[in-house]
């Protein structure tokens, strides 16, 4: 029976309590949320941090405090930690990776190209940054989660693979339906998968859809043999007109979809095997 990995992205850098009062913001809220989601079936936690005003931050102190609380309060929790490298558009290249060097999580995000941000700003991932980050992640034993917002970012990953900046097998996160990215529909998802298999054979992949495409991408991932990401980073709504009560609620729905399809929800240990994590 195929095993499907659930990644939870509980907060991101954007949604605030005004958007959904259940978005975890403080280190303690994030810890409580991650533990809840792990119990519900999440094998990976993709984490962002917020400053004391609730804005996205790449503060190593916040990452250290949160991971410390998680390990101290829940030593039984073996969830795979995947820390963002893109939690603040004003962060420097150095602060985007300082927390990785200190904490050495099993995974970290790797946004494989630049794009316009909400038609108002720039989400810059300079080639110098990507080369340094890729090499550092290899040196620090951290597996990149290649976030691809369009097929060009998959082609960019293939380039860095050939250059030795990235090391096979890669793991992709297809970010579907984001403004200025590829639309979130099945035709686009198939194209992303085909592009990945053509350019980076042997890779694993996961996906999510923001907004209206969330469920289509969830079902699509399971049907096409991928893995799933859910969480309030991407969707603060559970359904039309219905705010998500918690990230656990979103994880539980993903787990139901996986089981109804006939797959099993991968445990963190099984996810480590699928992704080739060695820590």
């Amino acid at each position: 029976m195929a095993k499907t990995i659930i990644t939870v992205a509980p907060n991101g850098a954007w949604p605030k309590k005004e958007n959904n009062p259940n978005v975890p913001i403080t280190p303690q809220e994030i810890v409580n949320d991650v533990y809840d989601c792990w119990q519900a079936g999440a094998a990976i936690a993709h984490l962002h941090m917020r400053d004391d005003r609730g804005f996205g931050t790449m503060s190593t102190d916040k990452f250290r405090e949160t991971i410390g609380l998680l390990r101290e309060q829940h030593p039984d929790c073996d969830i795979i930690l995947n820390l963002t490298t893109s939690g603040d558009l004003d962060a420097t290249d150095e602060t985007r990776m300082a927390h990785l060097e200190e904490i050495r999580p099993e995974m970290g995000s790797y946004d494989c190209g630049s794009m316009n941000w909400l038609n108002t700003s720039l989400f810059i991932n300079h080639p110098d940054f990507l080369e340094t980050l890729g090499k550092n992640m290899q040196a620090w034993g951290i597996k990149p989660e290649i976030e691809a917002f369009d097929p060009g970012m998959i082609a960019n990953a293939a380039y860095y693979l050939k250059k030795g900046v990235l090391k096979a097998p890669l793991h992709f996160q297809f970010c579907m339906g984001c403004a200025n990215g590829i639309p979130g529909n099945m035709k686009s998802l198939l194209f992303m998968k085909d592009t990945m298999e053509s350019l980076c054979p042997g890779s694993t992949w996961s996906c999510f859809g923001v907004g209206h495409s969330a469920m289509e991408m969830t079902y699509g991932a399971v049907a096409l043999g991928g893995h799933i990401r859910v969480g309030m980073e991407d969707n603060v709504m559970y359904a039309k007109g219905q705010l998500a009560e918690s990230n656990r609620q979103l994880v539980e729905r993903a787990a139901r979809v996986i089981r109804e399809y006939g797959n099993t929800v991968a445990t963190p240990a099984e996810a480590r095997e699928i992704l080739g994590l060695t820590k």
Binding site: A9, G12, A13, W14, P15, E18, N19, H48, G56, T84, S86, G87, S109, D111, W117, L118, N119, T120, F123, E147, C175, G177, C178, A179, P183, G184, N185, F208, V210, G211, H212, S213, E233, D234, N235, V236, K240
Partner: protein, 63 residues
């Protein structure tokens, strides 16, 4: 890093209704994107962006 869906916010110049469309639904609505759901006439663009605190003041058009 993502930011959820992006919306375009409108006000109807005829009836005053405030409404919004998610940008990812442009393919579904085509030329009707931005129309008032009541009057079916093009709305007056107000702003765009991710969800904002006054998001609830704008009715989402998604059918």
């Amino acid at each position: 890093m993502t930011w959820g869906p992006m919306y375009m916010y409108y006000r109807c110049g005829t009836c005053g209704k405030q409404f919004k469309y998610a940008v990812d639904l442009i393919p579904r609505f085509g030329e009707k994107f931005g129309n008032c759901p009541v009057c079916q006439t093009p709305g007056v663009f107000v702003k765009d962006g991710a969800r904002t605190p006054d998001d609830g003041d704008y009715e989402e058009v998604d059918e």
